[in-house]
C-alpha cells in the first residue's frame, strides 16, 4: 500500500483537519468528525454525510449555496447518530435542517436515529434519500438502488433553494424533485484499498472493466474487456435512458471521475457523451466534469443526467461558494 498518510487508522481526522486548514470559511469539530460553515444565518441548513473515501464529498461541498455541514464516517462506513447530531446542530439556523443522504442501509438507520434525537432537542429535521444508480434495480422490499454521483446535483439544488429563503418543506420538496429526475451509471477499471485494511477490496484484471460497479466496489452488471471512450459513453447513457425518459429534455450532465482517472480521459468521455446525447435529442444545459464523488484511488467514471425545468435550471445555475463545486 502506497499512500500519502501518517496513520491508516487516522485518515479521516487527518483529512478533515486538512480541509479545514485550507478553507477559512469552515470549522472542524474533531470529536464528531464534522465540518461546518462558520457562517451562521437564518436559513434552512442543508447537510450531508456518509462514509469517507469519496472526497471531495462531502467536506468540499460546504459553502454558501450548497451544504452547511458535512458529517464524516470512517472510510466507507456510516457516521454514528452522535456525530450526525453535531452536524445538525451546527447547520441549524432556526428554520430546520434537511439531510440529503445516499441510499445505503447504514446511512438510512444512523440518520433516522439522529433525526429522532434532534427532534427531541426541538430541531426540525427532514431527510431525503438519493438513489440514482441505475446499475441496481430499485426495489421496495430490499434496500435497493444505491446513491452515487447524482447526489451532488441534489445538494446543489437544495443548497440554492435554502439560500433563496425556502422553507424546510420547500427545500425538501425541490430536493425530492431532483432525486426523482436524476440517474447515474458508472464503471470501474481498478480496485481501491481502504487504508486501515491495507489491501485492495477486490481484484480486476489488467484488461478488465466492470460496468455498474458501486462506489465501494459493490458488484455491478458485467465484467468485460476494455472499451473505447465512444463505446463507454454509449453504454452508460443507454443504461440511463432505458431507465428514465430524457428525450427532448434539457439536462444537467455530470461526468465524474472515481479518483485515479485523469481529467484528460474524463474530457474525452464528455466529448463522446455530448455526441450521444445530441443523437438522442437530449439537450445539455450545463456540464460538470471532474472528480466529484470518488472512491479512494479507484479508476473509472460515471455519467449523471438530471432532467431540468425552469425551477431546477435556476437552482443549478445559482452562485455557489463551495470550494469543490464551481458553476
Amino acid at each position: 500500500m502506497k499512500k500519502i498518510i501518517n496513520d491508516p487508522n487516522r485518515v479521516v481526522s487527518d483529512m478533515l483537519r486538512g480541509i479545514a486548514a485550507v478553507n477559512p470559511k469552515v470549522e472542524y469539530f474533531p470529536e464528531a468528525e464534522v465540518i461546518a460553515s462558520k457562517e451562521k444565518r437564518e436559513k434552512v441548513g442543508v447537510i450531508s454525510g456518509g462514509g469517507s473515501g469519496h472526497e471531495p464529498a462531502f467536506g468540499g461541498y460546504i459553502g454558501r449555496g450548497m451544504l452547511s455541514a458535512a458529517v464524516a464516517g470512517n472510510v466507507f462506513a456510516s457516521p454514528s447518530p452522535d456525530r450526525i447530531i453535531k452536524g445538525i446542530e451546527e447547520a441549524n439556523g432556526g428554520k430546520g435542517v434537511l439531510a440529503v443522504i445516499m441510499n445505503y442501509s447504514g446511512d438510512l438507520m444512523n440518520f433516522d436515529m439522529a433525526k429522532e434525537m434532534a427532534e427531541m432537542e426541538g430541531i426540525d429535521v427532514e431527510i431525503v434519500v438519493v438513489k440514482d444508480d441505475v446499475a441496481v434495480p430499485d426495489r421496495e422490499d430490499a434496500t435497493g438502488r444505491r446513491g452515487i454521483a447524482g447526489t451532488l446535483l441534489v445538494h446543489k439544488v437544495a443548497g440554492a433553494k435554502a439560500e433563496a429563503g425556502g422553507t424546510l418543506a420547500e427545500v425538501a420538496a425541490v430536493a425530492q424533485k431532483a432525486i426523482d429526475r436524476v440517474r447515474t451509471m458508472g464503471m470501474s477499471m481498478s480496485s481501491c484499498t481502504i487504508p486501515a485494511v491495507g489491501k485492495p477490496g477486490f481484484a480486476l484484471g489488467d484488461d478488465e472493466i466492470e460496468i455498474g460497479m458501486g462506489i465501494h466496489g459493490e458488484p455491478g452488471i458485467e465484467r468485460t474487456g476494455v472499451k473505447s471512450a465512444k463505446e463507454l459513453a454509449a453504454i452508460l447513457i443507454e443504461k440511463i435512458t432505458a431507465d428514465y425518459d430524457y428525450s427532448g429534455s434539457e439536462v444537467a450532465v455530470m461526468v465524474n471521475g472515481l479518483g485515479a482517472t485523469p481529467l484528460m480521459e474524463l474530457y474525452i468521455l464528455a466529448g463522446e457523451a455530448e455526441a450521444v446525447l445530441k443523437e438522442k435529442g437530449i439537450r445539455p444545459w450545463r456540464w460538470f466534469v471532474g472528480n466529484y464523488m470518488t472512491s479512494l484511488e479507484m479508476a473509472g467514471c460515471s455519467i449523471t443526467l438530471l432532467k431540468l425545468d425552469d425551477e431546477l435550471k435556476e437552482l443549478i445555475d445559482a452562485p455557489c461558494e463551495a470550494p469543490a463545486f464551481r458553476v
Partner: protein, 215 residues
C-alpha cells in the same frame, strides 16, 4: 434467577472474549458478501465496553443498558452500531427500575431488543441479518415459558433457537446491507452479523446456565 448489572457485564466479557477469538472467521464471512469490517467494528465496541467494565458494573440495570447503547452506537458505528444502540435503548426502557434481571424480565428485554432492531433496520425475520438468531431465541424462550418449563430448560431453548436462527441465514437471500447487491444475494454464506449476535446470546445463556451464577 436474579442477574445483577455486574453479572451482565461478566456476560459481556465472555462475549468479548469469544468475539476476539473469532477474528479470522468473522472477517472471512464478511469479506465474502460485505466490506470485511464487521469483526473489527464489533471488536472495537466490546474492547471499549471492557475498558469501562468497572463503571458499568456499578450502574442500575436501566442505566447500564443506556450506557451500553451509547457506547456501541458511537464506537462500533456503521450499521451494527446503530442497531445495537437501538436494541439497548429499548432494553433500558424494558428494564425500568429493576434492581436485577429475572427470567420474565430477561424475556422482555430480549423481545424489546428484537423490536428495536427490527424497527430501526426496517427488517423482518428472514432478511439474513442479526434479527434471525434473536428472533428465534425470543420465540423459543417465550414458548418454553408458556409451556411451564423450568429455568434451565427455558435458557437452553433460547440458546438453541439462537443457534438455529444463525444457521438458517446461510440459505436466505439478503434483503439489507451490502450482501443484497451480490448476484446470489449471499445465499450459501452465513450472515456475519447473525453470527456475532449468536455469540452474545450463546454466552448469555451459558453464563446463566452455569451453576452459582445469577442466583
Amino acid at each position: 434467577m436474579q442477574m445483577t448489572s455486574a453479572e451482565y457485564v461478566d456476560c459481556l466479557r465472555a462475549a468479548a472474549t469469544l468475539l476476539n477469538e473469532n477474528k479470522d472467521y468473522i472477517t472471512e464471512l464478511d469479506a465474502a458478501t460485505g466490506d470485511g469490517d464487521h469483526w473489527a467494528n464489533m471488536n472495537m465496541g466490546f474492547v471499549r465496553l471492557m475498558e469501562m467494565s468497572e463503571e458499568l458494573a456499578a450502574l442500575p440495570v436501566s442505566d447500564l443498558f443506556k450506557k451500553i447503547a451509547m457506547t456501541m452506537m458511537s464506537v462500533i458505528g456503521g450499521s451494527a452500531g446503530v442497531l445495537y444502540g437501538s436494541a439497548y435503548l429499548k432494553a433500558a426502557a424494558a428494564a425500568k427500575d429493576a434492581q436485577a434481571i429475572d427470567l420474565p424480565l430477561l424475556r422482555d428485554i430480549l423481545r424489546a431488543q428484537l423490536e428495536g432492531i427490527m424497527s430501526r433496520g426496517k427488517a423482518q425475520p428472514g432478511f439474513k441479518t442479526m434479527v434471525d438468531p434473536l428472533h428465534q431465541a425470543v420465540d423459543a424462550m417465550e414458548r418454553a415459558m408458556e409451556e411451564g418449563k423450568n429455568e434451565a430448560e427455558v435458557l437452553s431453548a433460547m440458546r438453541d433457537g439462537a443457534e438455529a436462527g444463525m444457521k438458517a441465514t446461510a440459505d436466505m437471500e439478503a434483503m439489507r446491507g451490502r450482501a443484497c447487491y451480490q448476484p446470489d444475494k449471499g445465499v450459501g454464506h452465513l450472515d456475519p452479523g447473525a453470527v456475532t449476535m449468536w455469540y452474545q446470546l450463546q454466552t448469555l445463556a451459558d453464563f446463566l446456565l452455569k451453576e452459582g451464577n445469577a442466583v
